[in-house]
Symmetry: C2
Subunit: 268 residues, 2 copies
Protein backbone atom coordinates (compact mmCIF):
# COMPACT_ATOMS: atom_id res chain seq x y z
CA UNK A 1 0.00 0.00 0.00
CA UNK A 2 1.47 3.30 -1.11
CA UNK A 3 -0.05 6.55 0.04
CA UNK A 4 0.77 10.17 -0.71
CA UNK A 5 0.78 13.03 1.80
CA UNK A 6 0.38 16.62 0.64
CA UNK A 7 2.39 18.95 2.89
CA UNK A 8 0.30 22.03 2.29
CA UNK A 9 1.80 25.47 1.86
CA UNK A 10 0.28 28.64 0.47
CA UNK A 11 -1.41 29.18 -2.87
CA UNK A 12 -3.87 26.94 -4.68
CA UNK A 13 -1.42 24.14 -5.42
CA UNK A 14 -2.25 22.00 -2.31
CA UNK A 15 -5.93 22.10 -3.20
CA UNK A 16 -5.25 21.18 -6.83
CA UNK A 17 -3.07 18.25 -5.72
CA UNK A 18 -5.83 17.14 -3.39
CA UNK A 19 -8.36 17.16 -6.24
CA UNK A 20 -5.99 15.18 -8.46
CA UNK A 21 -5.10 12.75 -5.64
CA UNK A 22 -8.25 12.47 -3.49
CA UNK A 23 -6.83 9.57 -1.44
CA UNK A 24 -3.84 11.59 -0.31
CA UNK A 25 -3.42 12.63 3.32
CA UNK A 26 -3.66 16.42 3.50
CA UNK A 27 -1.20 17.76 6.08
CA UNK A 28 -2.01 21.17 7.52
CA UNK A 29 0.72 22.88 9.54
CA UNK A 30 -0.34 25.11 12.42
CA UNK A 31 0.02 28.79 11.63
CA UNK A 32 -0.28 28.40 7.85
CA UNK A 33 -3.38 29.76 6.17
CA UNK A 34 -4.14 27.07 3.59
CA UNK A 35 -7.16 26.22 1.52
CA UNK A 36 -8.32 22.89 3.03
CA UNK A 37 -9.89 20.23 0.82
CA UNK A 38 -13.05 18.19 1.35
CA UNK A 39 -11.38 15.40 3.32
CA UNK A 40 -10.27 16.07 6.86
CA UNK A 41 -6.71 17.38 7.15
CA UNK A 42 -4.04 16.04 9.49
CA UNK A 43 -3.18 19.05 11.67
CA UNK A 44 0.36 19.10 12.98
CA UNK A 45 3.23 21.54 13.52
CA UNK A 46 6.78 22.23 12.41
CA UNK A 47 7.53 22.13 16.14
CA UNK A 48 6.54 18.43 16.37
CA UNK A 49 8.36 16.43 13.70
CA UNK A 50 8.01 13.33 15.90
CA UNK A 51 4.23 13.67 15.92
CA UNK A 52 4.24 14.36 12.19
CA UNK A 53 6.36 11.33 11.22
CA UNK A 54 4.24 9.16 13.54
CA UNK A 55 1.01 10.43 12.01
CA UNK A 56 2.25 9.89 8.46
CA UNK A 57 3.37 6.34 9.19
CA UNK A 58 0.12 5.50 10.98
CA UNK A 59 -1.82 6.73 7.92
CA UNK A 60 0.21 4.46 5.61
CA UNK A 61 2.06 7.32 3.92
CA UNK A 62 5.31 6.56 2.11
CA UNK A 63 5.46 9.51 -0.33
CA UNK A 64 5.17 13.22 0.37
CA UNK A 65 5.00 16.36 -1.73
CA UNK A 66 5.83 19.89 -0.59
CA UNK A 67 3.12 21.96 -2.21
CA UNK A 68 3.05 25.73 -2.49
CA UNK A 69 5.00 28.43 -0.75
CA UNK A 70 6.15 27.45 2.73
CA UNK A 71 6.51 30.67 4.69
CA UNK A 72 9.01 30.20 7.49
CA UNK A 73 6.93 30.20 10.67
CA UNK A 74 7.98 31.50 14.06
CA UNK A 75 8.96 28.46 16.09
CA UNK A 76 8.87 28.22 19.86
CA UNK A 77 11.59 25.81 21.05
CA UNK A 78 9.59 25.25 24.28
CA UNK A 79 7.04 23.37 22.17
CA UNK A 80 9.54 21.13 20.34
CA UNK A 81 8.95 17.40 20.69
CA UNK A 82 11.88 14.99 21.16
CA UNK A 83 12.39 14.41 17.41
CA UNK A 84 12.40 18.14 16.68
CA UNK A 85 14.90 18.75 19.48
CA UNK A 86 17.13 16.18 17.79
CA UNK A 87 16.70 17.77 14.34
CA UNK A 88 16.78 21.47 15.27
CA UNK A 89 20.58 21.95 15.31
CA UNK A 90 20.81 20.57 11.78
CA UNK A 91 17.96 22.80 10.55
CA UNK A 92 19.49 25.87 12.19
CA UNK A 93 22.84 25.18 10.51
CA UNK A 94 21.08 24.67 7.18
CA UNK A 95 19.38 28.06 7.47
CA UNK A 96 22.80 29.64 6.94
CA UNK A 97 22.33 28.53 3.34
CA UNK A 98 19.08 30.46 3.02
CA UNK A 99 15.57 29.12 2.55
CA UNK A 100 16.77 26.66 -0.08
CA UNK A 101 19.30 25.25 2.37
CA UNK A 102 16.67 24.77 5.05
CA UNK A 103 14.19 23.10 2.73
CA UNK A 104 16.94 20.84 1.37
CA UNK A 105 17.73 19.72 4.92
CA UNK A 106 14.04 19.13 5.61
CA UNK A 107 13.72 17.01 2.46
CA UNK A 108 16.78 14.96 3.44
CA UNK A 109 15.24 14.42 6.86
CA UNK A 110 12.04 13.07 5.34
CA UNK A 111 14.07 10.76 3.11
CA UNK A 112 16.17 9.58 6.04
CA UNK A 113 12.91 8.62 7.78
CA UNK A 114 11.80 6.48 4.86
CA UNK A 115 9.59 8.86 2.90
CA UNK A 116 10.06 9.47 -0.81
CA UNK A 117 9.82 13.18 -1.62
CA UNK A 118 8.13 14.04 -4.92
CA UNK A 119 7.75 17.32 -6.81
CA UNK A 120 4.27 18.67 -7.52
CA UNK A 121 5.11 18.60 -11.26
CA UNK A 122 5.51 14.82 -11.03
CA UNK A 123 1.96 14.48 -9.72
CA UNK A 124 0.03 16.80 -12.04
CA UNK A 125 1.18 16.82 -15.66
CA UNK A 126 -0.44 20.08 -16.67
CA UNK A 127 1.48 22.09 -14.05
CA UNK A 128 4.26 22.32 -16.59
CA UNK A 129 4.28 22.50 -20.39
CA UNK A 130 5.27 20.05 -23.07
CA UNK A 131 7.65 21.42 -25.69
CA UNK A 132 5.99 23.65 -28.24
CA UNK A 133 4.50 27.05 -28.89
CA UNK A 134 1.86 27.59 -26.19
CA UNK A 135 0.69 31.07 -27.20
CA UNK A 136 1.38 33.77 -29.75
CA UNK A 137 3.38 33.85 -32.96
CA UNK A 138 6.52 31.85 -33.65
CA UNK A 139 9.62 33.76 -32.48
CA UNK A 140 11.54 35.25 -35.40
CA UNK A 141 15.26 34.90 -36.09
CA UNK A 142 16.19 37.88 -33.90
CA UNK A 143 14.07 36.51 -31.04
CA UNK A 144 15.76 33.10 -31.44
CA UNK A 145 19.18 34.74 -31.16
CA UNK A 146 18.04 36.59 -28.03
CA UNK A 147 16.73 33.33 -26.53
CA UNK A 148 20.09 31.68 -27.18
CA UNK A 149 21.98 34.57 -25.57
CA UNK A 150 19.70 34.60 -22.52
CA UNK A 151 20.27 30.84 -22.18
CA UNK A 152 24.02 31.41 -22.44
CA UNK A 153 23.78 33.90 -19.55
CA UNK A 154 21.81 31.47 -17.40
CA UNK A 155 24.21 28.69 -18.30
CA UNK A 156 27.23 30.78 -17.31
CA UNK A 157 25.72 31.75 -13.94
CA UNK A 158 24.20 28.38 -13.11
CA UNK A 159 27.35 26.90 -11.53
CA UNK A 160 27.25 29.86 -9.09
CA UNK A 161 23.67 28.94 -8.12
CA UNK A 162 22.47 32.24 -9.59
CA UNK A 163 19.87 33.08 -12.17
CA UNK A 164 16.53 31.58 -13.10
CA UNK A 165 15.75 34.36 -15.54
CA UNK A 166 17.32 36.71 -18.06
CA UNK A 167 16.11 39.30 -20.55
CA UNK A 168 17.93 39.94 -23.84
CA UNK A 169 16.83 42.29 -26.64
CA UNK A 170 18.65 42.67 -29.93
CA UNK A 171 21.65 40.90 -28.46
CA UNK A 172 21.84 43.31 -25.51
CA UNK A 173 21.40 41.91 -22.00
CA UNK A 174 18.78 44.08 -20.26
CA UNK A 175 18.10 42.05 -17.12
CA UNK A 176 19.74 39.24 -15.18
CA UNK A 177 17.70 37.83 -12.31
CA UNK A 178 19.17 38.31 -8.84
CA UNK A 179 17.83 37.49 -5.38
CA UNK A 180 14.96 39.96 -5.78
CA UNK A 181 13.31 37.70 -8.35
CA UNK A 182 11.76 37.84 -11.81
CA UNK A 183 9.15 40.51 -11.21
CA UNK A 184 11.72 42.98 -9.85
CA UNK A 185 13.93 42.29 -12.87
CA UNK A 186 11.06 42.90 -15.30
CA UNK A 187 10.18 46.18 -13.57
CA UNK A 188 13.82 47.20 -13.89
CA UNK A 189 13.76 46.44 -17.61
CA UNK A 190 10.50 48.37 -18.02
CA UNK A 191 11.94 51.44 -16.29
CA UNK A 192 15.40 51.47 -17.85
CA UNK A 193 15.38 49.96 -21.32
CA UNK A 194 14.63 53.18 -23.24
CA UNK A 195 16.25 52.84 -26.64
CA UNK A 196 18.97 50.40 -25.52
CA UNK A 197 18.19 47.62 -27.98
CA UNK A 198 17.35 49.21 -31.32
CA UNK A 199 14.20 47.77 -32.82
CA UNK A 200 14.28 44.46 -30.98
CA UNK A 201 11.63 43.96 -28.29
CA UNK A 202 13.42 41.15 -26.53
CA UNK A 203 12.61 37.97 -24.68
CA UNK A 204 12.48 36.59 -21.17
CA UNK A 205 13.92 33.13 -20.61
CA UNK A 206 12.95 31.26 -17.41
CA UNK A 207 14.65 27.98 -16.62
CA UNK A 208 15.84 26.08 -13.57
CA UNK A 209 19.49 26.34 -12.63
CA UNK A 210 21.54 23.28 -13.63
CA UNK A 211 21.05 20.68 -10.90
CA UNK A 212 18.28 22.70 -9.21
CA UNK A 213 16.05 20.44 -7.06
CA UNK A 214 12.60 21.01 -8.53
CA UNK A 215 11.03 19.50 -5.40
CA UNK A 216 12.22 22.55 -3.46
CA UNK A 217 11.97 25.53 -5.69
CA UNK A 218 10.56 25.45 -9.17
CA UNK A 219 10.78 28.37 -11.56
CA UNK A 220 7.28 29.60 -12.30
CA UNK A 221 5.46 31.95 -14.62
CA UNK A 222 1.89 33.16 -14.31
CA UNK A 223 -0.45 35.85 -15.63
CA UNK A 224 1.44 38.49 -13.62
CA UNK A 225 4.71 37.45 -15.26
CA UNK A 226 3.13 37.83 -18.68
CA UNK A 227 1.80 41.29 -17.82
CA UNK A 228 5.18 42.35 -16.42
CA UNK A 229 6.93 41.05 -19.55
CA UNK A 230 4.51 42.99 -21.76
CA UNK A 231 5.06 46.07 -19.63
CA UNK A 232 8.81 45.64 -20.16
CA UNK A 233 8.19 45.76 -23.91
CA UNK A 234 9.13 42.12 -24.54
CA UNK A 235 7.86 40.04 -27.42
CA UNK A 236 7.72 36.71 -25.62
CA UNK A 237 8.69 34.28 -22.89
CA UNK A 238 10.61 31.03 -23.29
CA UNK A 239 10.50 28.34 -20.60
CA UNK A 240 11.94 24.87 -20.21
CA UNK A 241 9.43 22.13 -21.08
CA UNK A 242 8.46 20.09 -18.02
CA UNK A 243 10.55 22.20 -15.65
CA UNK A 244 8.78 25.53 -15.19
CA UNK A 245 5.50 25.81 -13.30
CA UNK A 246 2.60 27.44 -15.11
CA UNK A 247 0.60 29.22 -12.42
CA UNK A 248 -3.00 29.20 -13.62
CA UNK A 249 -2.24 27.87 -17.07
CA UNK A 250 -5.35 29.14 -18.85
CA UNK A 251 -5.07 32.66 -17.41
CA UNK A 252 -1.36 32.70 -18.27
CA UNK A 253 -1.91 31.67 -21.87
CA UNK A 254 -4.87 33.97 -22.40
CA UNK A 255 -2.90 36.92 -20.97
CA UNK A 256 -0.17 36.12 -23.50
CA UNK A 257 -2.69 36.00 -26.34
CA UNK A 258 -4.37 39.24 -25.23
CA UNK A 259 -1.06 41.06 -24.91
CA UNK A 260 0.47 39.64 -28.10
CA UNK A 261 3.34 37.76 -26.44
CA UNK A 262 4.52 34.31 -27.40
CA UNK A 263 5.12 31.62 -24.80
CA UNK A 264 7.46 28.93 -26.04
CA UNK A 265 8.37 25.76 -24.14
CA UNK A 266 11.64 24.17 -25.21
CA UNK A 267 13.19 20.81 -24.43
CA UNK A 268 16.67 21.09 -23.08
CA UNK B 1 60.65 62.04 -33.37
CA UNK B 2 57.56 60.65 -31.69
CA UNK B 3 54.53 62.82 -31.17
CA UNK B 4 51.18 62.19 -29.53
CA UNK B 5 47.78 63.34 -30.80
CA UNK B 6 44.85 63.70 -28.42
CA UNK B 7 41.61 62.86 -30.23
CA UNK B 8 39.34 64.92 -28.03
CA UNK B 9 35.93 63.73 -26.92
CA UNK B 10 33.68 65.01 -24.18
CA UNK B 11 34.49 65.50 -20.50
CA UNK B 12 37.63 66.92 -18.91
CA UNK B 13 39.93 64.07 -19.93
CA UNK B 14 41.22 65.70 -23.19
CA UNK B 15 42.15 68.82 -21.27
CA UNK B 16 43.91 66.84 -18.55
CA UNK B 17 45.87 64.89 -21.16
CA UNK B 18 46.83 68.13 -22.82
CA UNK B 19 48.16 69.52 -19.53
CA UNK B 20 50.14 66.32 -18.92
CA UNK B 21 51.39 66.22 -22.51
CA UNK B 22 51.73 69.85 -23.60
CA UNK B 23 53.55 68.97 -26.84
CA UNK B 24 50.71 66.74 -28.03
CA UNK B 25 48.63 67.73 -31.04
CA UNK B 26 45.08 68.43 -29.85
CA UNK B 27 42.58 67.17 -32.42
CA UNK B 28 39.14 68.78 -32.33
CA UNK B 29 36.39 67.13 -34.36
CA UNK B 30 33.72 69.38 -35.87
CA UNK B 31 30.43 69.18 -34.03
CA UNK B 32 31.93 68.09 -30.69
CA UNK B 33 31.79 70.55 -27.82
CA UNK B 34 35.18 70.06 -26.19
CA UNK B 35 37.23 72.07 -23.75
CA UNK B 36 40.16 73.33 -25.86
CA UNK B 37 43.62 73.74 -24.35
CA UNK B 38 46.01 76.65 -24.60
CA UNK B 39 47.72 75.50 -27.80
CA UNK B 40 45.83 75.71 -31.05
CA UNK B 41 43.80 72.61 -31.90
CA UNK B 42 43.80 70.82 -35.25
CA UNK B 43 40.20 71.11 -36.40
CA UNK B 44 39.03 68.26 -38.60
CA UNK B 45 35.98 66.03 -39.09
CA UNK B 46 34.87 62.41 -38.94
CA UNK B 47 33.77 63.04 -42.53
CA UNK B 48 37.36 63.65 -43.68
CA UNK B 49 39.59 60.81 -42.50
CA UNK B 50 41.96 61.58 -45.42
CA UNK B 51 42.44 65.12 -44.21
CA UNK B 52 42.86 63.90 -40.63
CA UNK B 53 45.50 61.25 -41.42
CA UNK B 54 47.33 63.78 -43.61
CA UNK B 55 47.30 66.40 -40.86
CA UNK B 56 48.54 63.96 -38.23
CA UNK B 57 51.39 62.78 -40.45
CA UNK B 58 52.37 66.35 -41.37
CA UNK B 59 52.49 67.22 -37.63
CA UNK B 60 54.85 64.29 -36.93
CA UNK B 61 52.25 62.28 -35.00
CA UNK B 62 52.79 58.55 -34.60
CA UNK B 63 50.69 57.87 -31.46
CA UNK B 64 47.07 58.78 -30.75
CA UNK B 65 44.77 58.55 -27.74
CA UNK B 66 40.96 58.53 -27.81
CA UNK B 67 40.07 60.72 -24.86
CA UNK B 68 36.65 61.09 -23.34
CA UNK B 69 33.20 60.14 -24.57
CA UNK B 70 32.92 60.22 -28.35
CA UNK B 71 29.27 60.91 -29.12
CA UNK B 72 28.37 59.52 -32.51
CA UNK B 73 27.89 62.56 -34.72
CA UNK B 74 25.51 62.92 -37.62
CA UNK B 75 27.54 62.38 -40.76
CA UNK B 76 26.72 63.75 -44.18
CA UNK B 77 28.07 61.40 -46.86
CA UNK B 78 28.08 64.30 -49.35
CA UNK B 79 31.00 65.74 -47.35
CA UNK B 80 33.08 62.52 -47.21
CA UNK B 81 36.58 62.79 -48.60
CA UNK B 82 38.08 59.98 -50.68
CA UNK B 83 39.57 58.12 -47.69
CA UNK B 84 36.31 58.26 -45.77
CA UNK B 85 34.39 57.02 -48.82
CA UNK B 86 36.80 54.05 -48.84
CA UNK B 87 36.39 53.41 -45.09
CA UNK B 88 32.65 54.06 -44.70
CA UNK B 89 31.37 50.60 -45.69
CA UNK B 90 33.63 49.01 -43.07
CA UNK B 91 32.49 51.47 -40.36
CA UNK B 92 28.83 50.95 -41.24
CA UNK B 93 29.24 47.18 -40.96
CA UNK B 94 31.05 47.60 -37.63
CA UNK B 95 28.14 49.66 -36.24
CA UNK B 96 26.09 46.44 -36.23
CA UNK B 97 28.26 45.49 -33.24
CA UNK B 98 27.24 48.64 -31.38
CA UNK B 99 29.39 51.59 -30.36
CA UNK B 100 32.17 49.28 -29.21
CA UNK B 101 32.24 47.62 -32.61
CA UNK B 102 32.50 50.95 -34.39
CA UNK B 103 35.26 52.26 -32.14
CA UNK B 104 37.17 49.02 -32.52
CA UNK B 105 37.03 49.38 -36.31
CA UNK B 106 38.18 53.00 -36.04
CA UNK B 107 41.12 51.96 -33.86
CA UNK B 108 42.09 49.23 -36.32
CA UNK B 109 41.96 51.79 -39.11
CA UNK B 110 44.36 54.10 -37.25
CA UNK B 111 46.70 51.19 -36.64
CA UNK B 112 46.53 50.14 -40.29
CA UNK B 113 47.61 53.68 -41.21
CA UNK B 114 50.68 53.45 -39.00
CA UNK B 115 49.50 55.10 -35.79
CA UNK B 116 49.88 53.43 -32.39
CA UNK B 117 46.69 53.76 -30.34
CA UNK B 118 47.18 54.27 -26.60
CA UNK B 119 44.75 54.31 -23.68
CA UNK B 120 44.44 57.46 -21.57
CA UNK B 121 45.39 55.37 -18.50
CA UNK B 122 48.78 54.69 -20.13
CA UNK B 123 49.46 58.42 -20.36
CA UNK B 124 48.36 59.66 -16.92
CA UNK B 125 49.15 57.34 -14.02
CA UNK B 126 46.73 58.86 -11.54
CA UNK B 127 43.70 58.15 -13.75
CA UNK B 128 43.66 54.70 -12.21
CA UNK B 129 44.61 53.39 -8.78
CA UNK B 130 47.50 51.32 -7.52
CA UNK B 131 46.52 48.30 -5.41
CA UNK B 132 45.55 49.19 -1.87
CA UNK B 133 42.84 50.67 0.31
CA UNK B 134 42.07 54.12 -1.13
CA UNK B 135 39.37 55.17 1.32
CA UNK B 136 37.44 53.91 4.33
CA UNK B 137 37.91 50.95 6.62
CA UNK B 138 39.37 47.58 5.62
CA UNK B 139 36.62 45.27 4.33
CA UNK B 140 35.70 42.59 6.88
CA UNK B 141 35.49 38.85 6.27
CA UNK B 142 31.88 39.00 5.08
CA UNK B 143 32.73 41.84 2.68
CA UNK B 144 35.69 39.82 1.38
CA UNK B 145 33.40 36.87 0.67
CA UNK B 146 30.97 39.18 -1.14
CA UNK B 147 33.84 40.63 -3.21
CA UNK B 148 34.89 37.10 -4.18
CA UNK B 149 31.34 36.16 -5.18
CA UNK B 150 30.88 39.34 -7.22
CA UNK B 151 34.18 38.59 -8.99
CA UNK B 152 32.96 35.05 -9.66
CA UNK B 153 29.83 36.49 -11.29
CA UNK B 154 31.85 38.84 -13.48
CA UNK B 155 34.24 36.03 -14.34
CA UNK B 156 31.39 33.75 -15.39
CA UNK B 157 29.79 36.39 -17.61
CA UNK B 158 33.01 37.80 -19.09
CA UNK B 159 33.29 35.26 -21.90
CA UNK B 160 29.83 36.46 -23.03
CA UNK B 161 31.12 40.07 -23.17
CA UNK B 162 28.70 40.98 -20.37
CA UNK B 163 29.19 42.59 -17.01
CA UNK B 164 31.54 45.27 -15.73
CA UNK B 165 29.81 45.40 -12.36
CA UNK B 166 28.05 43.27 -9.76
CA UNK B 167 26.61 43.79 -6.29
CA UNK B 168 26.62 41.01 -3.68
CA UNK B 169 25.47 41.31 -0.05
CA UNK B 170 25.73 38.50 2.47
CA UNK B 171 26.33 36.01 -0.32
CA UNK B 172 23.18 37.10 -2.17
CA UNK B 173 23.54 38.58 -5.65
CA UNK B 174 21.52 41.82 -5.69
CA UNK B 175 22.62 43.36 -8.99
CA UNK B 176 24.37 42.25 -12.17
CA UNK B 177 25.23 45.01 -14.60
CA UNK B 178 23.47 44.87 -17.96
CA UNK B 179 23.47 47.24 -20.94
CA UNK B 180 21.85 50.01 -18.89
CA UNK B 181 25.05 50.47 -16.87
CA UNK B 182 26.26 50.73 -13.30
CA UNK B 183 24.10 53.61 -12.13
CA UNK B 184 20.89 51.90 -13.25
CA UNK B 185 21.98 48.73 -11.44
CA UNK B 186 22.69 50.64 -8.23
CA UNK B 187 19.29 52.37 -8.39
CA UNK B 188 17.71 48.94 -8.82
CA UNK B 189 19.53 47.64 -5.75
CA UNK B 190 18.50 50.73 -3.75
CA UNK B 191 14.84 50.25 -4.68
CA UNK B 192 14.58 46.49 -4.27
CA UNK B 193 17.03 45.16 -1.71
CA UNK B 194 14.73 45.50 1.32
CA UNK B 195 15.69 42.78 3.77
CA UNK B 196 17.11 40.41 1.16
CA UNK B 197 20.57 40.05 2.62
CA UNK B 198 20.27 39.83 6.38
CA UNK B 199 22.70 42.15 8.14
CA UNK B 200 25.24 42.39 5.32
CA UNK B 201 25.44 45.73 3.54
CA UNK B 202 27.18 44.41 0.47
CA UNK B 203 29.77 45.51 -2.03
CA UNK B 204 30.04 46.73 -5.61
CA UNK B 205 32.82 45.25 -7.73
CA UNK B 206 33.81 47.09 -10.93
CA UNK B 207 36.30 45.49 -13.28
CA UNK B 208 36.92 45.26 -17.00
CA UNK B 209 35.69 42.22 -18.83
CA UNK B 210 38.44 39.69 -19.59
CA UNK B 211 40.12 40.84 -22.78
CA UNK B 212 38.30 44.18 -22.79
CA UNK B 213 40.20 46.78 -24.83
CA UNK B 214 40.81 49.57 -22.31
CA UNK B 215 41.62 51.96 -25.16
CA UNK B 216 37.95 51.81 -26.20
CA UNK B 217 35.89 51.56 -23.09
CA UNK B 218 37.27 51.65 -19.59
CA UNK B 219 35.22 50.88 -16.53
CA UNK B 220 34.99 54.01 -14.39
CA UNK B 221 33.83 55.13 -10.99
CA UNK B 222 33.34 58.68 -9.79
CA UNK B 223 31.69 60.66 -6.99
CA UNK B 224 28.25 59.82 -8.42
CA UNK B 225 29.05 56.10 -8.30
CA UNK B 226 30.03 56.43 -4.64
CA UNK B 227 26.79 58.29 -3.82
CA UNK B 228 24.72 55.71 -5.70
CA UNK B 229 26.51 52.88 -3.88
CA UNK B 230 25.84 54.55 -0.52
CA UNK B 231 22.22 55.05 -1.52
CA UNK B 232 22.02 51.33 -2.29
CA UNK B 233 23.15 50.62 1.27
CA UNK B 234 26.54 49.20 0.29
CA UNK B 235 29.60 49.21 2.51
CA UNK B 236 32.21 49.65 -0.20
CA UNK B 237 33.48 49.47 -3.75
CA UNK B 238 36.25 47.25 -5.10
CA UNK B 239 37.98 48.03 -8.38
CA UNK B 240 40.83 46.50 -10.36
CA UNK B 241 44.12 48.30 -9.80
CA UNK B 242 45.31 50.08 -12.94
CA UNK B 243 42.24 49.13 -14.95
CA UNK B 244 39.35 51.25 -13.68
CA UNK B 245 39.19 54.98 -14.31
CA UNK B 246 38.78 57.22 -11.28
CA UNK B 247 36.72 60.17 -12.47
CA UNK B 248 37.84 63.13 -10.35
CA UNK B 249 39.93 61.10 -7.95
CA UNK B 250 39.90 63.53 -5.00
CA UNK B 251 36.12 64.07 -5.15
CA UNK B 252 35.60 60.31 -5.47
CA UNK B 253 37.74 59.48 -2.45
CA UNK B 254 36.34 62.28 -0.31
CA UNK B 255 32.77 61.21 -1.16
CA UNK B 256 33.71 57.72 0.02
CA UNK B 257 35.17 59.08 3.27
CA UNK B 258 32.16 61.32 3.88
CA UNK B 259 29.69 58.51 3.25
CA UNK B 260 31.66 55.87 5.14
CA UNK B 261 32.35 53.57 2.19
CA UNK B 262 35.61 51.83 1.50
CA UNK B 263 37.25 51.92 -1.92
CA UNK B 264 39.65 49.06 -2.44
CA UNK B 265 41.87 48.57 -5.51
CA UNK B 266 43.01 44.99 -6.04
CA UNK B 267 45.61 43.52 -8.36
CA UNK B 268 44.27 40.76 -10.51
Amino acid sequence: MSRLAILAGQGDLPHRLSVAHPDALFVHFEGLDVETPGNEPFLTSYERFGEMFGGLTAAGVDRVVFAGGLARPTLNPANFDAKMLELAPRFMAAMQGGDDGLLRAVIETFEAHGFAVLGAHELIDELTADAGLLAGAEPNESDRADITKARDILGALGPLDIGQGAVVAGGQPLGIETAQGTDAMLRFVAETRNEMSGGAKGVLVKAPKPGQDLRIDMPAIGPETVKAAANAGLTGITIDAGQVLLIDRSATLSAAKDLGLFILAEDR
